[in-house]
Amino acid sequence: MTDRLPPIVVDARRLLPPEPMERTLEALDEMQPGQEVLLMIPRQPAPLFDMLHNNGYAYTVESQPDGVFHITIRQASGD
């Protein structure tokens, strides 16, 4: 069993655009190999998806009952 680092959490539920993207990009810079970034945001951030797609990141989107989206981001090559 490998010890995985806990995800870096970016709570953007009360942040105005583009602060969620700014903070997520900072978190991606700090992310260690195998680690994930968990972004919590009240909308589907299309500009971030475009950026992740263009920069070799993979992500999953989970819609929560309270209308918040949990977006889990990792390096695509680490899959």
Partner: protein, 413 residues
């Protein structure tokens, strides 16, 4: 919540050329008030008052609305315009020159200026509206914003058609009987084109930039189509009370927006939030004033106050608040993949100066309402309008300058 796709966005120069032109019209409006204020406040039908109204509507508002459509149609509705960079140039130049000619025509009663204004604005509309409708007909979706954008664009066409007919009547080319279209022209322009476009944009940007819940589904689905019916009713039934349903719908939009704002998820209020809240309050008072007008209560002062509250209080507030969010955001998104260490968007604007603009703007509306009763206050309105235009234009230029500097640093020639 509906997603936006910024990969479809046009180059930032496309919307920003319109956004940077708009404050110049506000500046001209302020100067007109300082020069010819007494005539403006005498009646809404004086040449000076008509010139001022069209500096704000065909000048300031139209520039921002066209720029916003170039940006939002592809981003919000997936409606890609044909070569937006090529299309934007003639649409921008012709609409801006046409607005200046129209204002000159109203102010000095010049027949040839009316005719040239009709040609310039007409060509601009004939270039933009078919391209816009074609783009809006392609996306298969039936999103509320898409439907509202289609309705707004058709209302824009009808507004200009009615306006052009009246301009030609004023130029003496056709019968003056056509001037009876003025109520329809106002309803089509302010409600069908203006308010429906604000709603189409608001469904997206209010939840996104003000952290509010989405507009209720029942409202977003039915508002724009009901506006069409209400405008149609007012135009067909030749009795002033037939406009009451339209006034009720506009008041409903303002109330729903205020309710969304009340339910925001963030305690801190920024300038955009305050501009929008102030706008919706003004719209509610404008609606109340419109009802008084319909029943012939209050005379000229109420008619002028409704114009002040709807155009300056409603549209100019909403537009100012939106520009302060959307211009830095468009530029930030453009810079982000191109420049290492993009400056944070919040630092592109000087929030203190934006708040000073808000204060000057609110004081301007207060002074304008006072001027409907005591006309010398119009000089204060003119001064505050010049200050507002300088603050808005100055902040927008600052943001553009910062973006250009960041690009220059990233791409040394």
């Amino acid at each position: 919540m509906q997603a936006l796709s910024f990969e479809q966005a046009p180059p930032p120069s496309v919307p920003i050329r319109f956004f940077l032109t708009a404050p110049l019209f506000m500046l001209l409006a302020g100067l007109l008030l300082l020069i010819d204020g007494e005539a403006v406040m005498a009646s809404r039908w004086t040449p000076a008052a008509l010139a001022l109204t069209h500096l704000m509507t065909a000048g300031f508002m139209l520039q921002v609305m066209l720029g916003a459509l170039f940006q939002l149609m592809p981003v919000a509705a997936g409606a890609n315009l044909w070569r937006p960079s090529v299309l934007a140039l003639p649409v921008h130049l012709l609409s801006a020159i046409g607005a200046v000619l129209l204002v000159a025509a109203f102010h000095h009663q010049i027949a040839w200026a009316y005719q040239l204004a009709v040609v310039a604005i007409g060509c601009s509309v004939l270039a933009f509206v078919p391209a816009g409708m074609l783009a809006l007909s392609r996306p298969p979706g039936t999103s509320h914003s898409l439907i509202a954008l289609r309705i707004a664009l058709l209302a824009f066409f009808a507004t200009v058609l009615a306006g052009a007919t009246m301009a030609l009547a004023r130029a003496g080319l056709i019968d003056t009987g056509w001037l009876r279209f003025s109520s329809s022209h106002v309803a089509l322009g302010l409600a069908g084109w203006g308010c429906v476009l604000v709603a189409a944009v608001g469904y997206l940007v209010v939840p996104m930039f003000q952290l509010t819940p989405a507009y209720p589904r029942w409202f977003a689905r039915s508002f724009a189509p009901l506006m069409v019916l209400a405008i149609g009713l007012g135009m067909v039934v030749l009795h002033p009370t037939a406009w009451l349903p339209l006034i009720g719908l506009v008041a409903l939009f303002a109330s729903v927006t205020l309710d969304r704002q009340q339910r925001r998820r963030r305690a801190k209020l920024d300038a955009t939030f305050r501009f929008w809240r102030f706008a919706m309050g003004c719209v509610l008072f404008a609606c109340a004033g419109s009802v008084l007008m319909i029943f012939n209560i209050g005379g000229n002062a109420v008619a002028l106050a409704v114009g002040v509250l709807a155009i300056l209080g409603g549209f100019v507030s909403v537009i100012s608040g939106m520009l302060y969010k959307i211009v830095p955001f468009i530029l930030w998104l453009y810079l982000q993949p191109r420049v290492q260490g993009v400056p944070p968007m919040t630092r592109m604007l000087n929030e203190q100066w934006v708040l000073w603009h808000l204060r000057a703007h609110v004081a301007m509306i207060g002074a304008a309402l006072l001027a409907t009763l005591w006309w010398p206050a119009v000089y204060l309105v003119g001064s505050l309008m010049v200050v507002s235009a300088a603050l808005l234009g100055g902040q927008l230029l600052r943001v553009v300058g910062r973006a250009r500097a960041a690009l220059r640093l990233a791409q040394p020639s």
